[in-house]
């Protein structure tokens, strides 16, 4: 019987598990969350307003399917390896420490499988803004999580800003848990939106019903929705007291003279998503793209460039939960050994192909534009873990990324550049372009040195360890943990 391991239990991972089980595989799911659902399904029955829940019935189906799988929740997976299939059989070996991160000895879990589905999802991404380290500023994802899971609002008067349709459900959730949402500021302008969508982003595609519902919610709660607009400064001494918003040009550069202050006590920022590529990179799967967005390369069957390794969901392109569900199903079926033309894949393939077009439109319409760095001050903190300001990064921009990080400590703190990596790269790229004459390492920044050994463009994602782990947890069990069906 084929053993399939699934890394991540969001929509993509759950759909993969369900499909692999349906195809007769033995399935093990590892997920860092306390319970399955990922970033998308984190509501609690009885606590979360039903209007914030999407696809709950589907989630319940997926959860009941999981009864046939071994599920490790609260699993910090710190390594994934491909081994020669042989003696003990398994081609993929995953190692995890399972239990609360701050608890006493976590359980060592080793999973061997014949195939792996990487469904590690994405972090939500907030670009640095002067004042963004003030208490009261959160990512849009964090605001959404607090609202959905705990029924709590990040503020009484909350401003939502960034880019992409994700801002809409966040605003709706905040309103439902009692916050006044003083505005939703979408950085993209009409031109970009028209290129991707129609002028009104909710009038489109298979998403239209859902988006129309958000539009209705915004209108009901009298939430102003502005396009070509963004927060360029957060105001306050001890915590957020207001925010400066400005019109942004097509490159997201603030238009001088358009600034105005909006009184608020919380700001939720969401400028997009950063896929969590570390496991794929550790396995040697090919990753494509540049600093504006890197994704795992997959074929029509969601296969990566490594044998027996599949990927689904946001790690292959930001497309939302429906795309993730379809990709997960395809990956699960294929990992379990079904052929690409097996009729059980047909429905998922159709949805996936439509959603890929949706994802392309999403990037065209809302992708981060390079002008955003214009709203930074020299002393704006970029790397929050190590308190590294923009000035320090610019001063060292001429040396290769790795040397710059060691010199400034940008990206070396506990989050290991998961928050600031993309911003740091953008600032370095801009500094190198503006420092005419200083061509040092010029190529390194746009990723064209990736052919060089240890090349720069995967620097932040290339981690020999996938998760923080205690030294004492690295030893321990070397044989697969028993209990796999």
């Amino acid at each position: 019987m084929t053993r399939v391991a699934v890394l991540g239990a969001g929509p993509a991972g759950l759909a993969a598990a369900e499909a692999a089980l349906a195809a007769g595989a033995q399935v093990t799911v590892l997920d860092e969350g306390a319970r399955p659902g990922g970033q998308f399904w984190r509501h609690r029955p009885g606590l979360t307003d039903p209007r914030m829940q999407h696809g709950v019935r589907r989630f319940e189906q997926l959860q009941s399917a999981l009864a046939g799988a071994v599920v490790h929740s609260g699993a910090a997976v710190w390594s994934v390896e491909l081994r020669e299939p042989g003696e003990r059989g398994g081609a993929v070996v995953l190692r995890a420490a399972v239990g609360p991160a701050d608890g006493a000895r976590r359980e060592a879990v080793v999973v061997e499988a014949d195939a792996l589905v990487i469904a590690t999802g994405a972090h939500d991404l907030a670009l640095p803004i002067p004042g963004w380290t003030l208490p009261g500023v959160t990512t849009a994802g964090a605001a959404q999580a607090l609202a959905k899971r705990d029924g709590v609002s990040v503020g009484r008067r909350t401003l939502v800003a960034g880019a992409g349709p994700f801002l809409l459900p966040v605003a709706q959730s905040l309103a439902l848990v009692g916050s006044t949402v003083v505005g939703v500021h979408e950085a993209s302008r009409i031109g970009a939106l028209a290129g991707g969508w129609l002028p009104k982003p909710w009038q489109l595609l298979g998403k239209s019903a859902e988006l129309a519902q958000y539009a209705g919610a915004l209108a009901r709660h009298r939430i102003p929705y502005r396009i070509g607009s963004g927060v360029v400064r957060v105001l306050g001494d001890e915590r957020v007291e207001g925010a400066v918003v400005a019109q942004l040009d097509a490159d997201w550069r603030p238009r001088p003279g358009t600034e105005r202050v909006i009184e608020c006590d919380a700001v939720a920022l969401g400028h997009g998503f950063t896929p969590r590529l570390e496991a794929a990179v550790m396995l040697g799967c090919e990753v494509t793209g540049d600093r504006r967005g890197r994704f795992v390369v997959v074929d029509d069957g969601q296969r990566t460039t490594q044998p027996r390794v599949f990927a689904a969901g946001e790690v292959t392109g930001i497309g939302g939960a429906d795309a993730a569900l379809a990709e997960g199903a395809i990956a699960g079926y294929r990992a379990a050994g079904l052929a690409q033309d097996d009729e059980r894949l047909h429905a998922a393939l159709r949805v996936r192909d439509r959603m890929r077009r949706f994802a392309r439109r999403l990037e065209t319409a809302h992708g981060i534009r390079p002008g955003w760095t214009a709203w930074l001050d020299d002393d704006t903190i970029i790397c929050r873990c190590e308190a590294v300001a923009k000035r320090a990064i610019v001063e060292r921009a001429e040396v290769p990324l790795r040397a710059m990080r060691l010199a400034t400590r940008a990206g070396l703190g506990p989050c290991q550049a998961r928050t600031c990596g993309r911003a740091v790269e953008a600032i370095v790229a801009e500094a190198r372009v503006s420092a005419t004459g200083v061509t040092a390492a010029g190529q390194a920044v746009d990723g064209s040195d990736s052919a060089a050994p240890g090349g720069g463009d995967l620097g932040f994602e290339r981690r020999p360890l996938l998760a923080p782990v205690r030294l004492g947890e690295l030893g321990g069990a070397d044989r697969p943990t028993c209990g796999e069906n």
Binding site: E81, R391, P400, A407, T408, A441, G454, P464, R470, L471
Partner: protein, 385 residues
């Protein structure tokens, strides 16, 4: 004299500074930039404690003395956003577990014979020096001259100092060379040709390939080393502390994974634990075996590390020659071509003395070191890896 120094790691940057200060017109060439590879992927060890009597120990002792003044100077001359070298003369403590005492005692006695300070610590002094060390340790030797610095920052500082002395940085890959009358007259790069009177090959683990492109292949190979970094904590490790089995691993030609554990604190509060050694070519996927092996040995030295969280790990490639001795001096086949590579895990420590030997070879500058043991003409070096 126009000199191209190829490779902007610690050895190339030190050579560029030494040659520029002596009046040469220096071009520092690197395909990525300053400190892009090995020198940003290592520990910054300035060790005399791991050297058995011989030519490399002489180089290490000489270099160790030079680093003290050099690091002071680099820190004093710092400009702009340039980082500090974080030089720290913290000393080393080498320990043996039961059964290993005699070997370590003999090793230390031989080192004392060539002037390395190596003092046996009794139980009381050891407790004072390293209170968190495992009680299982049977013997500890204190090496006051061992030191540490931040290797990437220091390389950046050396390169900046070289530039202040007139050196020029060119980011380009060297593709070949042009000879006139049996001597190198120019190097060809992806950014065009550069006319030169001499070339110094400081390409570290890539020195063999660069040598081939310049018509002089070298048997220099990469050896992969993995290093672990913990989350910051109050200081509980005060020296460079390592197990005496490190000494065996450095000199070994064995291809299989070897580990020895050097544990130390950094100014940032993290604990650095290195290192493994594997001959696996330029393989970029170390997997977990080295990490697990290093962790097991580190927790044996310092049991408190069991509960310490690893923040990250990284790896780099160290250049080594088949006889484990650095390769420094003029190539016997191509006039005007010099090599400075093969330092394995000791390049940071040996950089100043290496630069001195290069200045001696290229410019005839004086040195008290014996260059002969390191010359590229020795058997087994001048062939492709």
């Amino acid at each position: 004299m126009r000199i191209a120094v190829i490779g902007a790691g610690v050895v190339g940057a030190a050579c560029a500074l030494e040659l520029a200060e002596r009046g040469a017109e220096v071009v520092l060439v690197d395909r990525v930039g300053i400190a892009a590879e090995t020198s940003s992927r290592c520990e910054g060890n300035l060790l005399v404690s791991d050297k058995a009597p011989g030519p490399e120990a002489d180089l290490a002792i000489h270099s160790n003395a030079r680093w003290r003044a050099l690091a002071d100077r680099l820190d004093a001359e710092r400009t702009g956003g340039q980082p500090e070298t974080e030089f720290e003369a913290k000393g080393g403590v080498v320990v043996a577990f039961p059964g290993g005492e005699e070997a370590l005692r003999r090793f230390a006695a031989a080192q004392r014979g060539i002037g390395i300070r190596a003092e046996e610590l009794d139980a009381e002094r050891l407790l004072a020096a390293e209170p968190h060390l495992s009680p299982e340790v049977a013997l500890a030797i204190h090496y006051p001259d061992d030191a540490q610095l931040q290797p990437s920052n220091t390389t950046q500082a050396l390169a900046a100092a070289a530039v202040r002395h007139g050196a020029r940085l060119v980011v380009a890959e060297v593709t070949g060379s042009r000879a006139e009358a049996g001597r190198i007259a120019a190097i060809e790069t992806t950014a065009g040709a550069i006319e030169v009177d001499a070339v110094v090959n400081c390409a570290g683990p890539w020195a063999g390939e660069l040598g081939r492109r310049l018509g002089a292949p070298l048997d220099i190979r990469p050896r992969r080393g993995v290093i672990l970094v913990t989350t910051p904590m109050p200081q509980r490790v005060f020296h460079k502390v390592y197990d005496a089995d490190y000494v065996g691993a450095v000199g070994s030609g064995d291809a299989a994974l070897q580990t020895s554990t050097v544990v130390e604190s950094t100014p940032g509060g993290t604990v650095l634990i290195g290192s493994s050694r594997e001959r696996v070519g330029f393989d970029e996927h170390p997997g977990v075996d080295p990490v697990r092996a290093i962790a097991a040995k580190a927790t044996r030295l310092f049991p408190f590390l069991e509960e310490t969280i690893l923040l990250r790990s990284y790896f780099g490639f160290r250049p080594y020659a088949p006889d484990h001795l650095p390769v420094i001096g003029e190539d016997p086949r191509v006039g005007g071509l010099f090599h400075a590579t093969g330092h394995e895990g000791a390049g940071i420590g040996l950089a100043p003395a290496t630069a001195e030997l290069v200045a001696h070879a290229v410019l005839g500058a004086p040195t008290s070191l014996d260059p002969v043991p390191f010359l590229p003409g020795r058997p087994g070096i001048g062939v492709a890896a």
